[in-house]
């Protein structure tokens, strides 16, 4: 591997990880649930990049397989979380205490 590519990889790693850090900060800050989901979704996409960079760095195609799997499943997680955001907000608006359903049955939505 030429020093050019190797340096570029090092820089790219730093950039990608900085991107991940940005996502992480957003994740912590929120403030809304969708913000957090967006942050997580973006992080999985960045992990795809990370895997790609690693594949080049190590010369192992195995990491491309990791990348493809991440692309597949990151989507699934996002969909599930998005549904959670959507439904949850419908069910419990705001932070008013919820009465536990142990005693009586709630109507299905």
């Amino acid at each position: 591997m030429s020093p050019v590519l190797s340096t570029a990889l090092d820089i790219a790693f730093v950039l990608v990880m900085l991107g991940v850090v940005g996502g992480f900060v957003r994740l912590v800050k929120g403030p809304s649930l969708p913000d957090r989901v967006v942050a997580l979704d973006m992080m999985t996409v960045l992990i795809v990049s990370f895997c790609g960079l690693y594949a080049i760095l190590s010369g192992q195609t195995a990491f491309v397989d990791v990348a493809i799997v991440v692309a597949v499943i990151g989507f699934l997680a996002t969909v599930a979380l998005a549904r959670y955001v959507e439904r949850r907000q419908h069910r419990y608006d705001g932070s008013t205490p919820v009465t536990a359903p142990g005693a009586k049955k709630e109507p299905k939505t």
Partner: protein, 110 residues
């Protein structure tokens, strides 16, 4: 050698877009606008890096997988954005200075 430079450029550019995606998600004012950053810059960044991967290995198996990954991202990222965007709208996340078309509120919230 030229291939190395191309790859280096792709990798750097990809890394840059990834960085922008992260920064955008962090900096932009509301969730829908942040999604523009994550969806577009993120996908492009990853795509560029994957192209570099495809060039780097240049055997058919790896290239197909790298390209398949790109296609996959292109296919799923907007759908994911749609899901989050809809959820965000429906859960009434405050939007920054956003003009709402008449009737959109009800239609989108159902």
């Amino acid at each position: 050698m030229i291939v190395e430079y191309i790859m280096a450029a792709l990798v750097l550019l990809g890394g840059f877009f990834c960085f922008i995606a992260g920064l955008g998600v962090l900096r932009l004012p509301d969730v829908l606008i942040r999604m523009h950053a994550s969806t577009k810059a993120g996908t492009l960044g990853s795509g560029l890096i994957l192209i570099a991967v495809a060039i780097f290995f240049s055997d058919i198996g790896t290239m197909t997988r790298a390209l398949a990954t790109i296609l996959f991202l292109l296919m799923t990222a907007p759908v994911a954005a749609h899901m989050i965007g809809r959820a965000a709208f429906r859960s009434r996340v405050p939007l920054w200075n956003t003009k709402l078309e008449e009737g959109a509120e009800e239609k989108l919230s159902r």
